[in-house]
Symmetry: C2
Subunit: 199 residues, 2 copies
């Protein structure tokens, strides 16, 4: 195969980015090699550098788009929930077994936050910008939507819960961690509801 169309190239880049975020989340950045990535999308590794300047550049962009997409998907769930139930919907998804069992398709934060420190400055910055956005997008579903500190504490609890639930090798303990975090964070941050509207 020689040169392809501009549209084809854009699609290749898109596929590369998508495959990369999934790989990074599942296997870590160090565990995801460019040759294997290119093989996965059915191309030879040499062409990687027609799309990204370096692995670092790919990592930075994968962090940014991966996080952004994840936040959007989560917020859409909150919007679809009945009034006052937004946070409940967020926590049910985020601290749920489906999310825990699918690191490749899940949120970038619990999957990659531990590695951010070891990436280049571009990747760290992208992560920071998107994490701040995450806090802002989620704040409207808190008891006090103005309380950015509460949003940060909530985010920490969400990420920490998924992190630990994925790390342990005992499924029962893992389920308990998820449930404990869900209940605690809901009690601490959900808006007060009239008694008859509580589930």
């Amino acid at each position: 195969m020689a040169r392809t169309t501009r549209e084809e190239k854009a699609r290749t880049r898109e596929r590369l980015l998508e495959t990369a975020t999934r790989g990074f989340r599942a296997q870590g950045v160090a565990g995801t090699s460019i040759p294997r990535l290119m093989e996965q999308i059915g191309l030879t590794h040499g062409t990687f550098y027609a799309h990204f300047e370096s692995k670092d550049a790919l990592v930075a962009e994968a962090y940014a788009t991966g996080l952004r997409d994840g936040v959007e998907r989560l917020v859409r769930r909150a919007e679809a929930a009945p009034p006052g139930q937004g946070l409940h919907a967020i926590l049910a998804r985020y601290l749920g077994s489906e999310h825990r069992d699918d690191p490749a398709g899940g949120c970038v934060v619990p999957a990659l936050a531990g590695e951010v420190r070891r990436q280049g400055p571009a990747a760290r910055h992208a992560f920071t910008v998107e994490l701040r956005a995450f806090a802002e997008r989620i704040a409207p579903y808190l008891r006090d939507p103005q309380d950015q500190d509460a949003a940060l504490a909530l985010l920490s609890g969400m990420a920490g819960g998924v992190l630990l639930a994925r790390a342990v090798d005992d499924p029962q303990l893992s389920d308990r961690i998820l449930e404990a975090c869900r209940e605690h964070l809901l009690a601490a941050f959900a808006p007060e509801l009239p008694a008859h509207e509580r589930e």
Copy 2:
């Protein structure tokens, strides 16, 4: 250098393990190579296999001892605190800037939990056992010392807070994350104090 004494060998193993936990926490498991580890303790890489069967075996033991030591040090702080202030002491240390800025010497959980999933079964199991112990050792300092689920939610919040505070590239945001988590977790889990004993 040829054969050394049994005592010397035990000390070598100790130094190797200590250097390894620090390396793993700071650079990750994949980022810490055996040749470099051996060089750090002043030996040639060939002798590694006189001490551990494989890198995996080293990882498992490093997880276990690193976690155990970290929990003990933390609990000693809580014991040294005035009555009713144990959790305050724990959170001040754990969600403090000194801990954030010293991953190599800090808690294994925020530093390595994200990688546990990708290690061998022995390492995963060691982590699980020690995490459970962590929850049990910390529970006595909670409002309800019997509530193991509260201890798990607390642990998640602590690990998540350090994880995020280390990941972001903005020192102000990082400080805010630590403080927000400290305040939130204290309010949620600390025992009630008579008004005149509150700080």
